[in-house]
Symmetry: C2
Subunit: 213 residues, 2 copies
């Protein structure tokens, strides 16, 4: 593969896509890199660079066609083919995520939840059934699930990851604050909220000190 697209670019394309959806609804027909950059909080040059990845088809002095661009990015994300997601761990954060994603993106849906707690198993939250852990392999295969969200305690996270990998999962979003080991052919996204908050606290203090100078 000659030019691989970086994860940063992919993340920004997702943001552009969401913003373009808004512009589309409010009837805006064209948009300039400058305007998209402003609302996305990036530079115009970066918008243009990123849009090259999806074959940026803008016109000078008219900018980009909102509908066309929106559809190009959707196509880039493969909206034609559905990605099914499993959620492991229906605790506080698991339930919040399930509620949040319910019915949001048609091509990207949480289709099954799993937990070891027998009180949670067999309940249906937001149109999604919770299965016992031993059903994991069977359901992943049946429902063609390719992405897993890990929302279990730290102590269980690596074991759950191993199980997911063993059943052929190709991407994992992990909320447990522990670095997971997965094979290189599985894409891993760590969402470490503790670390993020600690980083914010650190730089917040830095700013204060700089002002004092």
């Amino acid at each position: 593969m000659p030019n691989r697209i970086s994860d940063k670019t992919v993340a920004r394309l997702s943001i552009y896509s969401r913003l373009l959806g808004g512009f589309r609804q409010q009837g805006k027909e064209t948009i300039h890199s400058h305007d998209l950059a402003l609302v996305a909080g990036v530079t115009p040059a970066q918008v243009r660079r990123d849009l090259m990845s999806v074959g940026g088809m803008g016109s000078p002095s008219k900018g980009y066609d909102v509908t066309e661009l929106s559809e190009s990015i959707e196509a880039f994300f493969g909206s034609q083919q559905r990605v099914n997601v499993a959620l492991i761990g229906l605790g506080n954060i698991g339930r919040a995520i399930l509620a949040y994603f319910h019915g949001r993106r048609p091509h990207l849906a949480i289709v099954a939840a799993f937990d070891i707690d027998s009180h949670r198993v067999d309940c249906v939250h937001n149109g999604c059934r919770c299965y016992p852990m031993h059903a994991l392999g069977e359901i992943i295969e049946q429902q063609k699930i390719s992405v897993g969200i890990i929302a279990v305690p730290v102590s269980a996270a690596q074991e759950v990851a191993d199980t997911l990998v063993a059943h052929g999962i190709e991407g994992i979003m992990n909320f447990a604050p522990v670095p997971l080991r997965v094979p290189p052919n599985v894409y891993l996204e760590q969402v470490d909220i503790t670390t993020s908050l600690e980083t914010v606290a650190y730089f917040a203090r830095q700013h204060t000190q700089e002002e004092r100078r």
Copy 2:
């Protein structure tokens, strides 16, 4: 300031700190960059680079003293001075976060929550009282709050951010999937879970295609 420490390094230091805490508890006295790198999922060279920022005091063939290093990083994060955090929006994700951070880090605590919903106001969740929005300025000043977590709907996020900034907040962690505009002296961390999941789904599919080659 000659050498500013990057946000990436700060985030990794937070991870090292947490891992070192574990090693400390289990009585490990020294650790090598290689071992810390393994559990943190980074390279040994990166660990050593990062530790230079906190004045890395390792010894050849003995490695780093776990207790000493742990305390150095804690000091780097300023554990002597408490950082007080406000949470705006006590919905699904707000409550999950409140439950999660309750009593976890002594020097970094959510001390007040805010919501416009009168049903939520005045309740106490996990030892944290929920105040009405109009009390924001007063409580921020009283409790010396310097960091805000935004967990309100997209439509209200920018307005809440502006209010926080107006009351002197210095760092914001934003869960609403919309890029916020804040002045450059306020540190902003976007936690965009939708975008993260979309990125995972994209690269998961990529991996599949590469395997097919």
